[in-house]
């Protein structure tokens, strides 16, 4: 149906066809050992060989299918392997750990034993400075260098507790899960150490004065 242009120069066309044929004859290089398995297919000069499926490939296919059945069986037809089950299990382990060792430590609260001001200082920069300012001058959160406290009374145990449970209604998160007890204690030490530094642009005092 799109042949309208081709009628005009038939001679020309024939020449082209001839050339085309020549090109086609040489178009497929068949190796000696392939002569018997060349199929009688010819698509624009493309031939196909009748090679069998590679054995290793077929075996791989079967293996993956068998694996699929085993995998499904493992998760769905034997108990305790579903994502939800293993998740619950991992959470139970955590509670146990806590009740054994680390909560024993945590329940003591502030302890100078493993704490250091240096660790506290670097923790402060990465965790606290965003809200309380690089120099603890107060931004979103209050100024931590003065003697006024919104929550608690500024003692070691009180600051420890605020960090641990947070003040969620004011936007301060609980750090209990993110920091271990000695890290919290280090922070307490650091915060106590900067008392009275009166940084520039300090937020004006909030809360109650505790000397």
């Amino acid at each position: 149906m799109n042949d309208n242009q081709s009628n005009n120069s038939n001679a020309n066309a024939k020449k082209d066809i001839e050339q085309n044929k020549k090109a086609k004859d040489s178009s497929s290089i068949i190796l000696e050992d392939e002569k018997d398995i060349v199929l009688d297919h010819n698509y624009d000069g493309i031939k196909e060989l009748d090679n069998p499926l590679p054995k290793w490939w077929v075996n791989m296919f079967y293996l993956t299918a068998i694996f699929a059945v085993v995998y499904t069986g493992y998760y769905h037809f034997s108990s305790g392997h579903l994502i939800e089950d293993s998740f619950q299990k991992s959470m139970i382990v955590e509670i146990k750990e806590d009740s054994d060792s680390s909560t024993a430590m945590a329940s003591v609260g502030f302890s100078e034993e493993h704490a250091s001001i240096d660790e506290g200082a670097s923790l402060y920069t990465s965790r606290c400075a965003a809200c309380h300012g690089q120099k603890a001058e107060g931004i979103i959160g209050p100024n931590l260098t003065d003697s006024y406290w919104l929550n608690g009374d500024g003692t070691n145990d009180s600051i420890y507790n605020v960090i641990k449970v947070g003040i969620p209604e004011k936007g301060m998160i609980s750090w209990e899960k993110l920091l271990n007890p000695s890290q919290i204690s280090s922070l307490v030490l650091y915060i106590q150490s900067i008392k009275g530094t009166a940084p520039a642009n300090g937020k004006s005092p909030q809360g109650t004065l505790f000397e």
Binding site: Y71, F87, K177
Partner: protein, 724 residues
């Protein structure tokens, strides 16, 4: 035309192929490929150094990333596929395309789609679903143009002069059929306006449909058509017979049948029912052999011609393309294992994986096609083989740098996110896991730049080639006898598949059946289950203001960096909060679970920080989170929120089944304004509450603060701010 008496030998038809359409698609491929790669390099630079976002909303990462993916897939690969299909099909079927007009409509329609995408995506006009971001008017245009392409193609099959259809054509048919189905189902949405719509599905249903689409866009847009191209161009270029006809049959049908099931491997550890997740895993693993079937059939076709690979750049591209295809299709099943996925999901490993596919398998196949077709179609010689070889090596080094850096960065992220010590997170600070991989982002940028440089060499080479083409070329005529009608006779010893190869209509129907089986079995149970829609939940819908904020979240492409899916994994629960539940996203049209964590998960961000924290953080993320690579969003503080459209939005949500009362909809405007003022007052005494409450930032804060775990026992919460 087939009514001639059988005894008479048929007179040959003389005909010409429509190569001008192929040339058009080739030029479009070259141009759009450059755009896709350039945008990719810009994005890579933005991740390495956030200041390259330039504080401009139109080129900020979240808006540009969809442009990159859409351009790479639909513009670069898309135009190349069409060029190859039009070029090879006419020759394989010994006929000109059925209609030049339909071909032209296809070409210009497709370019119009791409241009609309390039305009709308940077403007933030997006449906918010990955690789399907284009809004509904463009979606309709895509469907129309695709159908025109399909009609033209099937009518061409009708007028063919070759009785049997070659394996390349089977792959083209599978592409045409399946892409149409995927696109139409996944794009179903109800418009709110010309540039905004809400997905018909929500939450887990939307996720399932989206990844059924997303994964099979990879399957039927980036795999099947390219296998078709491979089956034509590799034997053509090296002039060798295809290694195994039988292998091509088996791997074709296996691939088409199995691929469609694999989508849920994108949703492992999500709230998708686990049986569907497991199906996604096992079918991904069973995909290995069918995928490798294509690779080995291609590589073994090179038998006896390997010495030529050393000399001919085109063959180099073929071999590297197939090798990277083999690598990516091995990596895919590996990543689909639940245990591997727990580590790799949301990380850069996935980014590396897709790029080995697109830059390697698709890109190199396209380069081979271009280096072969351009001299052929313009009837001249390639300007420089040497330049093409240089292109190959530069691009290969680029890909290696890209993939290696993303492996390293992905595994680093995965390990740092999941690392526990004494039951606590080893790296509780998310920013720490970001700053750690910045050097690798620079390596990736270098990889991308190399790949782009190679591409520029190719453009130069091809432009010089085309310039050297002889003028006034006569179109070549071909001749072939018309098809004779044959009686459907099974007794000739013909195999049943051989019979099928001369019945393209039946082959098409079988393809539809093959892709329908997996789709129906895997998706229908979830689509028809009441558990996944609003009826049985106690969750309250978003307030009007929160919904407005959510739409801004979608507009800015936040999902390109932030997930909203806390997986049931201890480290995630410690880091983010209670694991995600079905109800959390039940009103989310579309869902926003995301697929990447360049930033932290946000499903539980509500209430974690005060409003003022979010305010300052959106204005300048580094003021609140030093080291963050998130762009600044200053325009959210300047743009006024469109309060007027809120009622309409709630009404559309109502039609979608979200339980808003008529009263909610009528009062949407006042409610939103009241809530906004409340947030404004909450910010800081130095900020004028009334003034700021008109701005978009307030809606975003409202939305982010609403992202939290459902209270499990909820009787007396009438006074919460979500109180509708």
């Amino acid at each position: 035309m087939n009514n001639q008496p059988q005894t008479q030998p048929p007179k040959n038809d003389v005909f010409q192929y429509d190569d001008s359409i192929v040339k058009k698609f080739i030029i479009a491929t070259i141009g759009w490929g450059f755009v896709a790669l350039l945008v990719g390099v810009i994005l890579a630079s933005q991740l390495a150094n956030w200041t390259f976002n330039l504080d401009l909303q139109w080129i900020t990462f979240g808006r540009l990333r969809p442009l990159h993916t859409n351009a790479a897939i639909f513009a670069f690969a898309g135009n190349a596929i069409f060029a190859g299909i039009y070029h090879s099909s006419q020759r394989l079927l010994k006929t000109r395309m059925f209609s030049d007009v339909l071909s032209k409509i296809h070409f210009w329609g497709w370019q119009l789609i791409i241009v609309s995408a390039a305009i709308t995506l940077p403007l933030g006009i997006t449906a918010g679903k990955e690789y399907a971001e284009l809004e509904w008017p463009i979606d309709i245009l895509i469907a129309l143009i695709w159908v025109i392409f399909a009609i033209n193609y099937f009518l061409t099959l009708k007028v063919r002069r070759e009785r049997h259809i070659y394996v390349a054509i089977w792959f083209y048919i599978a592409t045409i059929i399946t892409v149409a189905i995927l696109h139409i189902v996944n794009s179903l949405a109800i418009p709110v306006g010309l540039f905004k719509s809400y997905s018909l599905f929500s939450g887990v249903q939307d996720a399932l449909v989206q990844w059924w689409y997303g994964h099979n866009a990879v399957a039927f847009f980036l795999t099947t058509p390219f296998l078709g191209l491979m089956y034509y161009y590799i034997p053509k270029v090296i002039k060798r017979p295809v290694y195994s006809y039988r292998l091509s049959i088996i791997h074709f049908w296996a691939l088409v049948f199995i691929y469609i099931w694999a989508g849920p491997h994108h949703l492992l550890y999500s709230v998708l029912p686990e049986w569907a997740q497991t199906m996604g895993v096992v079918f991904s693993i069973m995909l290995l052999a069918p995928s490798w079937g294509g690779m080995i059939n291609g590589l073994l076709t090179l038998r006896g011609a390997w010495d030529r690979v050393r000399k001919e750049p085109i063959l180099k591209f073929f071999v590297a393309s197939l090798t990277l295809y083999g690598m990516a299709t091995f990596e895919g099943p590996l990543l689909a294992f639940k245990s591997v996925n727990a580590l790799a999901h949301f990380t850069d490993w996935i980014i590396g994986h897709v790029h080995s596919g697109v830059l390697g398998w698709n890109g190199f196949m396209i380069f081979a096609l271009l280096y072969y077709c351009v001299p052929k179609l313009w009837k001249t010689k390639l300007y420089s083989d040497k330049l093409a070889t240089t292109h190959f090596w530069v691009a290969t080094v680029g890909i290696i740098l890209y993939i290696m850096s993303m492996w390293a960065s992905g595994i680093t992220q995965g390990l740092m996110w999941l690392g526990l010590e004494d039951g606590r997170l080893m790296y509780p600070d998310f920013v720490e896991t970001v700053t750690k991989i910045i050097p690798l982002y620079y390596v990736r940028l270098v990889g991308g730049l190399l790949y782009l440089s190679g591409y520029i060499l190719m453009i130069y080479n091809l432009v010089r080639t085309i310039a050297s083409a002889p003028k006034n070329q006569q179109p070549i005529s071909y001749s072939a006898p018309p098809l004779q009608k044959v009686e459907h006779d099974h007794n000739t010893g013909e195999s049943s598949h051989r019979w099928l190869e001369r019945e393209p209509e039946i082959l098409t129907i079988l393809v539809i059946v093959a892709v329908a089986v997996g789709s129906v079995i895997e998706i229908m149970p979830s689509l028809t289950s009441h558990k996944f829609v609003a009826q049985e939940t106690t969750k309250k819908p978003y307030t009007a203001l929160e919904l407005a904020g959510r739409d801004i979240y979608i507009r800015e492409g936040c999902y390109t960096c932030h997930s909203q899916m806390v997986r049931p994994i201890k480290a995630e629960v410690l880091r983010y909060g209670p694991k995600s539940e079905l109800d959390d996203s039940i009103y989310d049209h579309p869902f926003q679970w995301g697929s990447r964590r360049i930033g932290p998960d946000l499903a539980r961000v509500g209430g974690k920080y005060p409003d003022i924290w979010h305010f300052r953080h959106m204005e300048d993320p580094r003021s609140m989170a030093p080291g963050s690579i998130m762009p600044n969003y200053p325009w959210l503080l300047k743009n006024n929120l469109d309060y007027g459209i809120l009622e309409k939005k709630l009404r559309v949500m109502q039609t979608l089944g979200v339980p808003y009362s008529d009263e909610n909809a009528e009062h949407a405007l006042e409610d939103a304004k009241a809530q906004a003022l409340e947030i404004g007052k909450n910010l800081d005494p130095s900020i004028d509450a009334k003034k700021i409450s008109k701005k978009e930032i307030i809606a975003v804060i409202a939305y982010l603060q609403s992202l939290k775990a459902q209270e499990s026992h909820e009787p007396s919460h009438g006074e919460t701010k979500q109180g509708h």
